[in-house]
Structures are given as structure tokens and as C-alpha cells.
Symmetry: C2
């Protein structure tokens, strides 16, 4: 059956047919302001048009026109853009589909219609759609599977169509995608070409489209692509190993993510979709195993993934250099996509925890406040002030220190756009509730997985559950949930207590008379917490999360962060930016005193620090010396400074700076010995 | 005047016409065994033929034949090898020229004649010589200066010819080089094309050849190439900045080396040659300034340069990750070339100190003991056991953990070959001594800059100075110099006391009756030390260098090595290899106890260590945690281990292993407070 949508466009994000959990639909939850609401509004107001303008200016959109009108190959004009530039158009379409579902903004609607028209016109009669291959003067279709990115582009086309199905229903773009998917199935099916794409994404697109359109052929083709990988059949790329595109080990045999991070994560997301939709528990367990090891050993404090610039890839276990962290914005988004799928498949809270960490510290870090410039890489340390980006030019992709309006390889801006436009659909999920209009299960559970100010409205049986969420999270740790309307059928409301929230409390009516304050505050442990009793209109549930600053220490195997500590505050990683230091103090001199109080300050913190005298130059020798160990500054030896830390996601907004998340400690690896019981209250620590 | 050579082939390594210091000639010093003598013999016996065989097998030699017989372009056979493969043939020729000068080995001589014949036959009538450009079916000459490497290849041809001039005199190869250089001067001269090569090397080749053949036109052309760089005229390479090939800042304005390390260092070496030969003190001072900052902030303990894999390049100041150290073997060799030129130009001992560090810990690390496999990159930490190299296949260039017989980009093996074949010419230099056969200056000084067992014989005035050097350095710190023959004219013998050799002593006749032991041992400070008095046959000078193991600490700005110490022993950097750990102890658990004695052990050391309990996995979170700081192992908390360290240059010779040079300390950055006065005797340290 092909699901048709209600006019309210509340079709949900990925639904596992085999399971009964689904994310909330585009219209079931609406944000109003707050951290994510504001980012979402800026995305709608500025970023969508910004991306469209750049792609028009650079000719990436005109590439479709030149295929459509057969002028491609008729002159010597080289095709502008990389071979994968079509995918940026599709990611922008996906962003616009979500945005249209969310607001129905007519300006976006007009742009949508024009773009879809231009894209559709470039589709070949047999469904093939790509502006770089297969036409006059171009290389043949699928002549370079390793680096050609044709199936990668198609995958993004399919994801755009999925967003449209889930927010609107079938239309022109969905038809274009269906024909493209059919062409892929004919070309690469069981009786076709035994090939796969050097950049995973088609797996994800096919599996999602198969689910959205109830088309098992697409799921089966996704499965074939997943199974074909890891067998060393992709033509090698000079100086890169097969691990670069995960063609070294079959997906179901691998233990860890490796190679190009975005490739690895898109592949993992597609593999989870295939595993869930085909009931392949072995495959799902393989991805869960890879997730666990990769998160525990190859993931930054920010949730960022990718330690190496060379191949935009994962490094070895524990190889997490702050300064050369690549942490590509797209890899953060892809990580959320994987965790979201595993969360729905397993209900394990750790996936929601990582999603939050990554949203606040990678995804939110990329866009500038005005939504018109972006970070591509998200290092945790900036040693030298980055060269200012050219404000109105295409910039190299991975320079740190300044956000840029567009990149030579510009995958991140459109990826940010599609993620922010649909952010709220990652914030809550329901279990035991069918698609809108369908029957409810016996014991529905509604889970708030991420906290943002807004309104949730869900059909439950004959009635509706309407919740109002009031919070300034993460500025405050108070999340107030008001039951505006409750269905007659009992519904369990479940909240997430983040793993760092030691000391959280919950106040809920607990079956007594409804109303705020009627329930006693009780401590709740990190994990899922059920609001007890039946929900009734007027009930108020208050979750208090401790969002005071806390010190965080690296695992001793993370060599590059030894002897340092970081400060987190709620879900936010903080950082020290040179612009906040007193005149005459250099970033590399600062040693934080971990025995002193860490105090909240605005949305950041203030730490006590001392300066370390640094050796003079002039030795003419490498910076390693016998007999010259430099001890940490002793308690009385250096003036005590008060150093403010700011949220990492907003660094580099105040002009060129140097920055570090991990600050060396005055006595590294020697924290106060009693720092074990109250990590959320570092201010109480004493030596 | 073109210098003609004596039959003994003792023409020296680069001589600064403006100065009066020159390196010893190929036949003025002969090694017999010892650390470098053995490497040199292995190079002669195995490596030269190994390189020739690989280049024959891969068709890199046949590329010359196909140009010579005009079969290139007549069929569809793609030309094997990268566009710069000719340079490997030239570096092999350079190695063979030095080897022929050293030993006259007829087997090498026969190979030389054949190779020179094949190379010569490929030269075009106008002197142009390149197998990748300018012939039927090939891109036009100089059509891709940014990445074509044509002038780079020519530069290596010229360096091979210089070796031949300095060891034999003019012959066929020198004539080929002269014609190639003339073609370059016509094409790129003041009235010609205003271009330069993306990979510096032609500067060096032209300047050296100009000096060797007394041809100022070549020096002038080298100067032009140096001056043209840094003005942003090279066509950009995708995703790389102009700093990659030092086209960002003019040479005389730059403060530090940046971008691709080998490019930066070849350029610097050429610039010093130009500066010295044209009396351009500003240019020389610029390179000295770059050397100082780069060595003090961008150089590894091993002397290795290049912190980044991405562009094989320098990183920012203090960016020295041990695990991702690139430290390309060729960059180490190029660094020696720069320091050697600055040493002759300035007489500053720090250049000789860095040469020693780099020779023992980068250059000597590359070749396997049998001379038939090589490291390309030389990281200071190996986190995971490297995949074994394919023993008889071309390997990717930069994988750590195992030496490989040949690489896809195979610059290092031939670079090692030419360096080892001429190693002894870097070991000593003379001042105030003209070329052999010429008049001596008034006060000649003979300097032993590197120590190796062998015989030095120099013409001085009407007589000869003959020295016998007996030493097993660096296994022992005793260097015994016997004056076998002394000229009538007074000569000053000067020795180098390395910067680490605190506590060195010298025993010399000091003007009394000659003979061993007649002079009192007296302490000598690091730096140059003159042997007092006139030298007489039978004099014995004994230098005692403290080569006991010593702890070395990183500068506090080297974030990636914070909380660790390394152990050095004389000029050798030591390392901890997993194969030396007791069963059940993992490399990442080891914490060395810097308060305990570090004892010599074979050619390495034994350190006391404890194991640190490591956190268990299973958290499902990135490896950073609040409230879980891991203190260093306390004195009594863990069993004391004795852990042997071995010389870094021999790591990975005993099968796959993990390895680290910088070992975390039990109490990082908190060494014993009295470790200030006797760095060479860490065993005396107590808390």
C-alpha cells in the first residue's frame, strides 16, 4: 500500500514497518523560538535562498537546463561544479520540502515549483538523471563508479522525494524520483550490473523511498548495494585505500567505522534501514556494534566524527586531536541520521544522548548567526587565527577559523538546511501510535527525546494529545510540559534525562489532582523516565536538569588531550576563545585550576586559571629538552585569572581568534581526588 | 674556470665561493664499519641495484627508451609511472656517481654506463629531456608548471651531474646536464617565459651546477626562479592553497617554512646556494630566520619535519602530533641539505646538531636492515599494528608500521641511496683549505662535525693531514682521533660537542709530548671545541661524550605530547615497542616513572613503569567523562615494570608492533622538582 497523506502533512519521519516506533511528523510538533526554533527560522528566512542563489550564480542549476535543452556538449564551455554538484540541488529541495511541510511559505513554494521544473526537465526518457554523465560530450553513464557520484546524487534525489511524500504526498518530484529509482533498479538489479557507488547514499535513498512508497523493490535494491560493499570491487583511488569508501570489509562483518566519515555514516544509516525493513537482525547488530566502538573511541566531545583531514576520515581508536579534528558538519548530520534510526529500532537512550550532543555542538556550530556562512570542518582547537574567509567568494573547504558563504565542495550548507528545516521531527517519537488516521495501539508511549519550546499535537484514537513545552533549554534546565488536551485512551509520556544530568528531578501530578506543583519533586536517574499515571488536561510536568558547568576529562588513551580538561554546561561544550582573555595573556599560557570553582556566566562559565611561564625561543633546537621540564604553575606562583568560556557552537562570531575546548590544567591528570560523586557540581570540589 | 678533478676524485661537496669552508671530498674521508659505514655498505651492496631493478620492472627506465626510439605515442600503451618518475632515475644516478667516486666498484660502473646511455639517448636536440612531456601523444612542454614537475626532474638531473663532476669530472652525463640547463636558461631566462616549477628543485640543481662548472648563468637562472616564487603565479591545485608550493610569500619575506615540506626545504637549500654565491646576505638571513622558527616550533624530536599527511606538509607552530607525524624521509634528507649549506655559510654549530639528530633518527630509520625496504613516513607513534606491506609489490606511500620495497610515489628509496652513498661528505669540513692541489690558507681548520669510524686524509700545503677516527659511536661516547700524519703547516683540529652532551670531556696532548693519555681530561662545553696546539703524528685526542640515557620533555605548547616524556641516548631517540612489553601489558597502559632510574640497556634503555587501569568500554559515549578523571598510578598502586626502550631507527624490524616515542608519565608535567641540573643523568633523580 502506498500511504497517502492527510492534508495536514503530518506523515512521520522514518517508520520501521517491523517496529512500532515512529518520529513525529512535520506538523505534529511546532517550535516557537528557543534555541532550535530560532535556528530553524534563520534557516527558513536566509539559508534556503542563500543556497539557491549560490547555485544559480555558479551555474549548478543551469547544468540541469543545459541537459534539458540539449545545449550541453555543443560548445567548449566546461560544466561548472564538481561531478556531485547535482546533489546540492537535491539537498536544497529536501530542505524546501520540509520547510513547505512546516510552514507552507508561498515564497518557498514558488521557488520549489521552479526548481522541480528545471530538475524534471533534465531527466532522460528512461529515468536517468544526472548533469555530468551520459550526454553529448560527457563521460558515459556509470563509467566511473568509484568517483563519479552518480548513484550518490540519485540517492539525494530520492531523499528529497521522501521528504515530499512525508510532508505533502506524491507529486512531480516524487514521480521523477520514482522513475530514477526504477532506472537504478533496472541497471543495478540482480540481473544487471554488479556495481556500487564510491559514495554511499543511494542505499539510504532507496530504502527510505521504498518505505515511503511501500515499494519493496527499492528496499531490495538498497540491500543489494549494502551487500556488495566491502568486497574490494571499486576501482582504487590513487593514494587512498579501499577503506576510504568502506570497500574493505563487508558491512555485516565490520567492527568499527573507518575511512571517509560521511561515506561510512551514510552507509550505516542505509544499512539500518535495510536491516529494519528486512528483519535482518545480524546486519542491525553489526551497525550497533560499529556505533558503540566508534562512539567510544573515535568520537569527539562535541559528537564530531572524523579525525583526519587527509581523507576526511575516521582515525585509529583514540586518535582524537583537537587541533586537526575534521569533524565535518556533514558527518555530524550523518551521525544523527544513524543514531536516529538506531534509536527508533532499539529504544536505547544512548542514541538520543549522542544526537543531542551532536546537534548542539556540531550542527549548531556550522551556520553563522545570520544563516549565510558555514563551517565545513569543526576543529576543537584553533592554533592560529584563521585567514578571513572571502565574504562573497567560493572558499576552500576545510579552513578553520571563519565561516564561509560557500565552498568549492559545498556539501555542508545544504545539509545544514535540510537538517534544520526538519529538526523538530527528531525531537520526539511515538510508540504504539499508527500513522495519522490509523488505529492506536494498546499502550501508546510519547517520548520527548530533545527539548525545545513548542507545541506537540498527536491524534490518539478518537482524541488528541496536545502538549505545550515551555523551556529556554539549554540556557535553563527547566522543562515544563503542560498537558493541554488529553485523549480518553491512556498515553504514557516519557522524558529523557541526559546521561550528564546527575541530580535531575521530576515533578509530576502522579495520579493526584492535576495542576502544577501537585507532584513532589523526585530525583530521576539519567535515561528514560516515565511520567506516572494517566495524563489529564491541565497536568503540568516539570523536569529540572542540572545545567551548571561541569569539568570533563579525557580518557587517558586520548593522547592528544592528556593533561587537559574541558568544561560542559548541560548539552553544550564550552570553549576558551582568545578574544576573551585579558590583554597580554596568550591562549597557550592559560592553565585552568581544576580545584577552583567553575561558575556559570551567561550561557558559558568562568574558570580560575593561572599563566604558565613559557620557554623562550632561540635554542635552535626542536621543542623538546632534557632537564627543562616545565612544571604546572604552583598555587601561588602566578596571578589567578578569571577566564570566561563560551559555548563552542558560537565561536568565531566575534572576529578572528584562537580557541581551545580542552584547556591544559595546572596539574594535569591530577584532579582533586574526591572528584567522583558530583560531576554536575564542580564548584563544590575541593582538593 | 671549470675545476678539473684530480684522479683521486676528492672534489668536495658544495663550496661557497664567497666563503672558505668546504665539505670533505668523496675520497678524503673513508668510513670503515660503524653505524654509518655499515649503512653505506648495505646501500652499495643492495639498495642501488634494488632501485634499478624496480625502475626497470615498472618501466620507468623504458620510458627513456621509448622517447629515444620515438615509439612513444605510437600505440595506446599508457606511460608507466607518475609524471615525476624520471627524477628517481636521476637520484639513482646521483647515488651511483657518489658510490663510484667512493669505491669505483666496476659493477656499479657498468650499470652507470648503461643508464647514462639510455638517459642521454632520450634528450631532444635542443637539450630538453623529459619522458612525460613534449613528444608524440604527450602534453606540450611546460604546459603544466604547477604539477608537471618537468623542471623538478631537470633539477635532479643536474644534481646527478654535480655528483659526477665532484667525484670524477666532466663526462657524458655532465654534458647532458649542461645542455638541459642551457635549454632551461633559454626557455625561462630573463627574456623567456616568466614561469617557475610547482616543485622546487631546479633552483638547487642550477645553483650547484653553476658552482661546479663555474657557470654564473646557471646561478643567475636559479636566482630568477627563487625570486619568482611567492607571488601567487602558479596555477592553483584544487583544495590546496598557494602555500603548498610556497607560492604565497616571497622567499626573502617569509618567516617560517610552510606547505609541502620537501618543496619548502629544497627551495630553502637552493635559496642558500643562491644567497651565498651571489653575496645576498638578506636572502641568507631570511632562510636562517625560517630555519630557526621552523626548527624551534615545527620540528619533531627526531629532527623530522612535516606534521600533516594531507599535504605532506608543515603544520602550525607547536602542531607536532606523534601519531600523525608525517616526517617524510625525503623531508629529513632535504632538511640535512639546508642545514649543511647554512653550516658551511655560517659555521654555527646548531646546524650540525640538527644534521646529526636527523641523520640518526630520520634518515637511518627509513631503510630496513637489508637495504631493500623503506619507510616513507616516520611517525613517532604507531597506534595500531600496521598492515604488513606486500613484500614484492608497489605499496601506498604513507602507511606506517612496515617498511616497503617500493612505493607508488617512490621518492624516498633513491633519496636514501644518494644520501647514504655520500654520507661521509657531510661528516667533516675544512676552512682555509683550497681545493686539492691549490694553496692552503693561512690558518686551516679541520672540523669533525659527525663521528664515525674511518680515515681522513687531506692535502695541506706540501704535506698531508691524516687522521684515524676510532669509535663505535653512538654505541659508545668515546671518539678517539689519532694523528697519523701531520703537515708542516699548523692545522687546527676542531670537534663538535653535541648540544645534549653536558659533561663531555676532552683529553688532548695540549702541546706537551705527543701520545695517548698525555693530556689531562678536561670538561668541554657543547659547541665547537678546538684541540689545542699543533698537531703531530702520534697525537691521540679522546673525546668522551655522555651517551647514557636521558629523559626529554616536550615544550608545554606541544599539546600532543603533554604529560609525556621521551628517552634519548646520545644522538638516538629511543622508543617503546609493544613487542618488548610483558605479556598482558598493553602499550597504552604504560606510564613511566620519571622519578626512577633510567638505565642503559644494550643500545637502548630500561625505564621503570607502572600500568594505569583503563576505563572499561560500554558507556556508549565519547571518551570524555565528567567525574571520571583517571589519576596517574600512585607509587604503590600498580606493579612496577621494567620496560626496555630501543632505538627508534630500528623499530618495526621485529614484526608488527605498536610503538611510541613519547610515553605518558606516571605524574605528567610533574617531574621531580630537582630535575634541572643533570639532564644526562636521570638515574640520579629523586623526588
Amino acid at each position: 500500500m502506498t500511504d497517502t497523506l492527510t492534508s495536514s502533512g503530518v506523515r512521520a519521519r522514518p517508520v520501521a514497518p517491523g517496529g512500532n516506533r515512529r518520529g513525529v511528523g512535520i506538523g505534529e510538533l511546532l517550535l516557537d523560538g528557543g534555541f532550535w526554533g530560532r535556528l530553524q527560522e534563520t534557516n527558513a528566512r536566509a539559508t534556503l535562498q542563500h543556497c539557491a542563489d549560490w547555485m544559480e550564480r555558479l551555474g549548478w542549476l543551469a547544468n540541469f537546463d543545459r541537459v534539458a535543452d540539449s545545449t550541453v556538449g555543443t560548445d567548449d564551455t566546461p560544466r561548472p561544479g564538481w561531478q556531485f554538484s547535482d546533489s546540492e540541488v537535491y539537498k536544497l529541495l529536501e530542505a524546501m520540502a520540509w520547510e513547505l511541510g512546516r510552514t507552507g511559505d508561498p515564497v518557498v513554494g514558488a521557488l520549489w515549483t521552479k526548481l522541480v521544473g528545471r530538475v524534471s526537465a533534465a531527466q532522460d526518457d528512461d529515468g536517468y538523471l544526472n548533469t555530468c554523465y551520459g550526454h553529448a560530450g560527457q563521460p558515459a553513464r556509470y563509467s566511473d563508479l568509484s568517483t563519479g557520484h552518480e548513484l550518490y546524487c540519485t540517492g539525494h534525489l530520492l531523499q528529497a522525494a521522501v521528504a515530499r511524500v512525508r510532508t505533502h504526498g506524491e507529486d512531480d518530484l516524487v514521480e521523477v524520483a520514482r522513475r530514477a529509482a526504477d532506472q537504478v533498479c533496472r541497471e543495478f538489479g540482480p540481473d544487471g550490473r554488479d556495481g556500487l557507488c564510491g559514495h554511499p547514499e543511494i542505499e539510504l535513498g532507496l530504502a527510505e523511498l521504498g518505505r515511503a512508497l511501500d515499494e519493496p523493490r527499492y528496499t531490495e535494491q538498497a540491500r543489494l548495494f549494502v551487500e556488495r560493499r566491502g568486497r574490494g570491487t571499486l576501482a582504487p583511488i590513487a593514494l587512498l585505500s579501499p577503506a576510504y569508501f568502506q570497500d574493505d570489509v563487508p558491512v555485516r562483518e565490520a567492527d568499527v567505522w573507518r575511512g571517509h566519515a560521511v561515506r561510512a555514516l551514510y552507509l550505516a544509516a542505509g544499512a539500518v534501514d535495510v536491516a529494519v525493513d528486512t528483519g535482518d537482525d545480524e546486519l542491525r547488530a553489526a551497525v550497533e556494534r560499529q556505533w558503540t566502538r566508534s562512539v567510544e573511541r573515535r568520537t569527539y566531545l562535541t559528537g564530531g566524527m572524523g579525525s583526519r583531514h587527509q581523507d576526511e576520515g575516521f582515525g585509529d581508536d583514540w586518535e582524537l586531536p583537537p587541533d586537526r579534528a575534521y569533524c565535518e558538519t556533514c558527518a555530524g548530520i550523518a551521525s544523527v541520521m544513524v543514531s536516529w534510526r538506531l534509536l527508533l529500532a532499539s529504544d536505547d537512550v544512548r542514541y538520543a544522548d549522542l544526537i543531542e550532543r551532536t546537534f548542539f555542538n556540531v550542527v549548531a556550530t556550522s551556520p553563522r548567526a545570520d544563516g549565510r556562512a558555514f563551517f565545513y570542518a569543526n576543529p576543537l582547537q584553533q592554533r592560529e587565527q584563521g585567514a578571513p574567509m572571502q565574504p562573497d567568494a567560493v572558499n576552500p573547504r576545510a579552513e578553520g577559523g571563519a565561516r564561509a558563504p560557500w565552498f568549492d565542495v559545498s556539501c555542508c550548507p545544504t545539509n545544514v538546511a535540510r537538517t534544520l528545516a526538519s529538526w523538530h521531527t527528531y525531537a520526539a517519537f511515538v510508540e504504539g501510535l499508527a500513522e495519522p488516521g490509523g488505529p492506536a495501539g494498546s499502550a501508546p508511549v510519547v517520548t520527548l527525546a530533545q527539548y525545545a519550546s513548542g507545541d506537540l499535537r498527536l491524534a490518539v484514537g478518537d482524541g488528541e494529545l496536545a502538549l505545550r513545552v515551555d523551556t529556554t533549554y539549554p540556557a535553563s534546565g527547566t522543562v515544563r510540559v503542560v498537558v493541554v488536551e488529553a485523549p480518553s485512551q491512556p498515553v504514557t509520556l516519557r522524558l529523557r534525562v541526559p546521561h550528564w544530568a546527575d541530580g535531575a528531578t521530576l515533578a509530576a501530578p502522579s495520579g493526584g489532582p492535576s495542576g502544577e506543583g501537585t507532584g513532589a519533586r523526585r530525583p530521576v536517574d539519567p535515561g528514560w523516565v516515565d511520567v506516572p499515571g494517566a495524563l489529564a488536561a491541565g497536568d503540568v510536568v516539570v523536569l529540572e536538569l542540572p545545567v551548571g558547568p561541569r569539568l570533563t576529562w579525557p580518557d587517558p588513551r586520548v593522547d592528544a588531550a592528556r593533561g587537559t580538561a574541558a568544561v560542559e554546561r548541560g548539552p553544550l561544550v564550552l570553549c576558551l576563545e582568545s578574544v576573551d582573555l585579558p590583554a597580554g595573556v596568550a591562549l597557550e599560557e592559560v592553565r585552568i585550576d581544576t580545584a577552583a570553582e567553575v561558575r556559570p556566566h551567561g550561557d558559558g562559565a568562568i574558570v580560575a586559571a593561572r599563566t604558565l611561564p613559557l620557554p623562550d625561543g632561540g635554542s635552535g633546537r626542536p621543542p623538546f629538552a632534557a632537564g627543562q621540564p616545565v612544571p604546572g604553575p604552583s598555587d601561588g606562583a602566578a596571578e589567578l585569572l578569571e577566564v570566561p568560556l563560551v559555548p563552542y557552537h558560537r565561536w568565531a562570531e566575534r572576529g578572528p581568534s584562537t580557541m581551545r575546548v580542552f584547556v591544559p590544567t595546572a596539574s594535569p591528570d591530577r584532579p582533586a581526588p574526591d572528584v567522583t560523586s558530583h560531576p554536575e557540581h564542580p564548584s563544590k570540589e575541593t582538593r
